[in-house]
């Protein structure tokens, strides 16, 4: 096992607290590597170390002192319930690279907020390309469906004019991306 320590944000990614798109660009490669490692670990056979065997053996000896026929049904049901409530690990979805473009000649800054970055208006800035006012960002997103909007100058939420949109429930429109 490697002694490599992941960046705290990458750990949040592994915990499912943030998405890959929410990582700063310099951490994306580390995040993707961590997800690949996680997927590999999930598929690998888990070996029980010797120390754990000794602990399990100790528990086994203790268990012999109680009357298991009284507790076995309840323990089995409790174990089944605990297993049922443990969250299943979702399969790692395929990643798709998408380029977002907005023409906003008068904007001072433009960013992208959506379900992929927990609607964080500062997480995904677009880059202005040349003097024409074309703003772009290229993201790698998990396959599935995403809703998003551009945030112009930090205050104005603008749907993508090139994408279908749905009512956001707040009197505005969210753009829809189905990958």
């Amino acid at each position: 096992m490697s002694e490599h320590e992941f960046h705290p944000l990458v750990k949040q990614l592994l915990d499912g607290d943030i998405t890959l798109a929410a990582l700063p660009p310099e951490l994306r490669a580390e995040g993707e590597e961590a997800l690949r490692l996680l997927a590999a670990v999930d598929r690998s056979v888990v070996s029980v170390p010797a120390v754990t065997w000794r602990v399990m053996a100790g528990l086994e000896r203790r268990r012999r002192r109680v009357r298991p026929w009284l507790l076995a049904p309840a323990l089995a049901l409790a174990a089944a319930l605990i297993l049922w409530i443990l969250p299943a690990k979702p399969a790692t979805p395929a990643l798709v690279t998408v380029r977002f473009v907005l023409v906003a000649p008068d904007a001072h800054d433009v960013s992208l907020a959506g379900t992929f970055n927990r609607w964080d208006a500062h997480a995904t800035p677009l880059v202005r390309s040349g003097p024409t006012g074309v703003w772009t960002a290229t993201l790698t997103l998990p396959a599935g469906q995403h809703q998003y909007a551009f945030v112009v100058d930090g205050v104005r939420w603008v749907p993508d004019p090139g994408a279908p949109a749905v009512d956001d429930g707040f009197g505005r429109r969210n753009s829809v991306l189905t990958l």
Binding site: L81, I82, I85, W119, D120, F170
Partner: protein
């Protein structure tokens, strides 16, 4: 003691759900919104509904600077739509999971009705294919495709048993037709006719299973 062993996991279930929701909302929404979403989310989860759409809507509203009472209304509305989607799917004979319910909720938010959801559920498609079909149907609804043509097209696609990738390409193909000057309804109807013809005559060359080798002619 036996009762305690049974109660602990159930208590853990509720606590775990609330902790999970609270952790995901932490620092993103006001305490009053967080409390409401925790309550709605725990109740929704107990009914087999997904929690993620509720959390996303609360965070979205707060990020957009929407007043708390309006965020509360929107989150409650999403919860109702999830219930509607789940009921419509059950009506169509589908054993629901959280992903297909969330897809149904999206389709409803894009303008489809509970009858539309049930119609798609009755195509007999797998839950995975139906999930993609509902999301694509919602996307078509957002593009302005009327319900009748939308459900006709997606039903034909689901019945044909084509891979999910083909379904996902439908919005782009409808958009391409619209760019040529037809209406969204005409574009969807044209694709539905093509899908029906394909179902009758088999996949076009290069798609699907190759035909069996012809029997060689007998030697003279």
């Amino acid at each position: 003691m036996i009762v305690s062993l049974l109660v602990i996991p159930l208590t853990l279930l509720g606590m775990q759900q609330q902790d999970s929701i609270a952790a995901r909302l932490a620092g993103r929404v006001s305490p009053d919104i967080a409390t409401l979403v925790e309550r709605l989310g725990t109740a929704a989860s107990a009914r087999g509904l997904p929690v993620d759409p509720l959390i996303q809507k609360a965070i979205e509203g707060s990020a957009k600077g929407v007043p708390s009472e309006r965020v509360v209304t929107a989150v409650s509305w999403v919860a109702m739509q999830l219930d509607t989607a789940a009921a419509a799917l059950r009506e169509g004979g589908v054993v629901t999971d959280t992903l297909v319910i969330a897809a149904g909720e999206f389709a409803i938010s894009a303008g489809l009705s509970n009858h539309d959801i049930t119609a798609l559920a009755r195509t007999g498609a797998s839950v995975a294919a139906l999930t993609v079909g509902l999301r694509v149907a919602g996307t078509l609804g957002a593009m302005g495709v009327p319900s009748a043509e939308n459900i006709g097209l997606i039903s034909a696609k689901l019945r044909s048993g084509q891979p999910a990738g083909d379904l996902l390409s439908v919005p782009a193909r409808v958009q391409a037709e619209i760019s040529r000057g037809v209406t969204p309804a005409q574009a969807a109807a044209g694709l539905e006719r093509a899908a029906a013809a394909q179902a009758r005559h088999g996949p076009p060359p290069g798609r699907g299973n190759p035909p069996p080798h012809p029997t060689p002619p007998p030697h003279p």
